[in-house]
């Protein structure tokens, strides 16, 4: 598993787990971040918040938040 922040722009991943308290998890889940959902990194400039797409919604996440979303690659292999 990788933290979501490791994805480069246009790479995709499948959510496996969320790390954090109930508040964080409930908030993320209500925005569509649940295990099994496909996320696409749309912008990751290496600094500042990232933008990802999940369930047709674009969401800006702080790097700390993106670090707490754990993903696997769609094929289950390694990230390039």
């Amino acid at each position: 598993m990788y933290p979501l922040i490791k994805l480069k722009a246009n790479q995709r991943g499948v959510i496996r787990a969320l790390r954090g308290g109930h508040r964080f998890i409930a908030r993320m889940a209500s925005l569509g971040f649940t295990p099994g959902a496909v996320v696409t990194m749309t912008r990751n400039d290496g600094f500042g918040p990232v933008i990802v797409s999940v369930r047709g919604t674009r969401v800006a996440l702080g790097r700390g938040e993106a670090n707490r979303v754990l993903i696997v690659t769609p094929q289950g292999g390694h990230l390039d």
Partner: protein, 660 residues
């Protein structure tokens, strides 16, 4: 609530950015009242409309992504539905992000009220290449579904007739509801059996059991308070063992949504970049996005200064003319009455009115930025700079526009979702040097510092920005214990702004300003007028000046004369009063008298205090309106302390350097 038969109550619910307020505005027009939810700082909008001879009441619930008690908005929404039991809940979803925006429906549909689903923004969805068949969705959900494009008024008739039919019970209502995994269902049943006997009537036991499993703080507290210690222990143990249930429940809801929409929705091919995606490639780019943002902000300032400022000056002149006219008309009246009306009353009302042009521009800009979806991009771009102060990117716009005027800056903090970040932004806003303070600096600095004036003026502005940043970091650490506002923000799809929405937004905010802040400003300016007029009717012998004299010992620490102290006191009404008061107290030749009376060190201390001083009455009034008495007082005390401290430091340092 009045008789239900005569005026059914419709509650509008929906996630943020789904166009809920556009629908509310279409339904009610100007028949709406904006206030606050009882005991909360969150806006409450209630309105009425008439359809086929029957009057309906519409309550606009706050925008929320879900109904777990994580935020004030969520608590208000669910408490309202459970306690007031509206006749119909209209759940508004964004057709362009259907899957995500149906999440709230999965929670609403579990509550004991009839629901109508509105698929809003059908036009935007089509633009993004998404096809939806509302009839198929209606068949799957078992509740009425109404497709709409509220910005164009499309689908309103259908919504009205569906509301009417639902209120009259003429529509079959057989909702499908999501199920959770069998394992967690079993736990939920156990919890339900324990808590059912002790729950107040308004809470459905099924729903409470689910909320407990989701780790809902409010429900846990409620149950804990009512259960015996042994029973609570059993509940607590169950919840601890099934801590993972929260994600399972959310996943189950999405799985249900996927089943519901599978047959009704056709999505564009994967890899096809949407309209919003193409725009965002440029607008959120670290370089191009920033440059475009700077250009947009430049445009806003240009608008404020070329239209707002002259209008403000023009209205001020008219107030002056009106005051002169009333003085002539009242020549025969007692002098105090003439002064009360001409200076106190007309002066005060004039002051309130001069804020209007800038506020209209400000509110219109805010509404356009929000309505198009660009505001979220600004927050995204600026978040990295605001982070150190514990602020969110959304604090940027209100603070920046504070350079125009602090009043809209404080009002503009409403776009910030978390209470903490909002309060912090409100406390910092008065440190942004507004145009009135800049005017004072522009007039006074050359009198003292001649050719060095631009450098000094630049230094003063920089000082304010630095003090703001330092205070931000400090308050964030001390008051809020460094707790980082997490940055999780939806970037809504771009769409064209709706004139009606913008117009109503400007109108309602102006009205609120006039009603609440306007009266406070008028009161304070009358009070200061009275202090400057009585006992003798001459300012140089008034109570205010006596007060200035009384402050002389403190003034000596900053090297300030009683005239300068009095000028600072009157700047509380409006910052630009400083110059007028100095003019009265030093006589007409201010340019000659000032440098003579204040040494360079004193002059610098005076300008520093002026820049950091207590917010003007109007700003205090809106802080009070937005955050309450306590925080308004705190803000005044804090800035009084900072400004006096800075004044003393600057003067004493200057004196040591031989400038005293």
């Amino acid at each position: 609530m009045t008789d239900e038969r005569s005026s059914p109550v419709i509650a509008l619910a929906g996630q943020p950015n789904v166009g809920k307020s556009t629908i509310f505005n279409w339904l009610t027009g100007l028949n709406q009242h904006v206030g606050n939810w009882p005991g909360k700082t969150i806006e409450q909008k209630i309105g009425t409309f008439t359809h086929n001879g029957r009057q309906y009441t519409v309550v606009d619930l706050p925008g929320t992504y879900s109904l777990t008690a994580n935020s004030e908005e969520e608590r208000i929404t669910r408490d309202y539905i459970l306690r007031e039991r509206p006749d119909v809940v209209v759940a508004v979803a964004d057709a362009a992000v259907l899957e995500r925006s149906l999440y709230l429906l999965t929670e609403l549909i579990a509550l004991p009220v009839p629901i109508i689903l509105v698929l809003n923004m059908m036009d935007v969805a089509e633009h993004e290449g998404i096809q939806i068949e509302p009839k198929v969705l209606q068949a799957a959900l078992g509740i009425p579904v109404v497709p709409m494009s509220a910005t164009h008024g499309v689908g309103m008739d259908r919504l009205l007739s569906t509301i009417e039919a639902t209120v009259d019970g003429r529509i079959p209502y057989t909702p499908s509801r999501p199920h959770i995994s069998p394992e967690h269902q079993e736990v939920a049943e156990k919890l339900k059996a324990i808590v059912a006997p002790i729950l107040p009537d308004l809470y459905p036991p099924d729903w409470v059991a689910l909320k407990l499993l989701e780790g809902d703080g409010e429900m846990i507290a409620l149950v804990r308070e009512r259960l015996s210690p042994e029973q609570w222990k059993a509940v607590d143990a169950l919840l601890y063992r099934h801590e993972d249930a929260v994600l399972d429940i959310a996943s189950a809801r999405y799985a249900w949504i996927e089943r519901m929409i599978r047959a009704a929705v056709t999505r564009p091919r994967v890899g096809q970049v949407s309209f919003t995606g193409r725009l965002d490639n440029v607008l959120t780019h670290p370089l191009w996005g920033m440059l475009i943002l700077l250009a947009v902000l430049g445009g806003v300032f240009w608008l404020t200064y070329t239209i707002g400022a002259p209008l403000q000056g023009w209205m001020g002149d008219w107030a002056q003319k009106l005051a002169d006219l009333s003085r002539q008309q009242l020549a025969a009246a007692p002098p105090w009455l003439t002064a009360l009306i001409a200076d106190g009353l007309i002066g005060g009302v004039g002051l309130v009115i001069t804020f209007l042009p800038i506020l209209i521009i400000f509110f219109a800009v805010m509404a356009v930025l929000e309505d198009t979806g660009y505001m979220a991009r600004i927050a995204y771009l600026t978040d990295r700079f605001m982070h150190a102060m514990g602020l969110h990117g959304k604090s940027f716009i209100p603070l920046l526009l504070g350079f125009g005027c602090n009043v809209p800056a404080v009002l503009g903090t409403r776009i910030i979702e978390t209470k903490r970040a909002r309060l912090l932004t409100i406390l910092l806003a008065p440190l942004v040097p507004c145009t009135a303070r800049m005017a004072v600096i522009t007039v006074l600095t050359p009198l003292f510092f001649h050719s060095y004036a631009p450098l000094i003026a630049w230094g003063l502005v920089t000082m304010n920005v630095i003090v703001l940043a330092l205070l931000g970091i400090l308050l964030h650490r001390l008051l809020f214990h460094g707790e980082q506002a997490s940055f999780i923000m939806e970037l809504p799809l771009y769409h064209l702004p709706n004139l009606r929405t913008i117009g109503l937004y400007v109108w309602q905010n102006l009205l609120a300003f006039l009603q609440k802040a306007g009266s406070t400003i008028l009161l304070v300016s009358l009070l200061v007028w009275a202090l400057a007029y009585f006992p003798g009717g001459v300012q140089s012998e008034s109570y205010l000046v006596a007060f200035g004299h009384a402050l002389e010992p403190l003034g000596r620490l900053m090297g300030l004369s009683w005239q300068a102290l009095t000028a600072l006191l009157t700047s509380f009404v409006a910052k630009e009063n400083t110059i007028a008061t100095l003019g009265i107290l030093y006589g007409s030749d201010l340019a000659a008298a000032l440098p003579h009376s204040l040494s360079p060190a004193s002059a610098l201390a005076f300008l520093v205090v002026q820049m950091l001083f207590v917010p003007c009455a109007a700003t205090v009034a809106v802080i009070r309106q937005e955050a309450g008495n306590r925080w308004a007082l705190f803000s005044v005390a804090l800035l009084l302390f900072i400004s006096v401290l800075a004044g003393i430091l600057v003067y004493q340092l200057g004196a040591v350097l031989g400038l005293g």
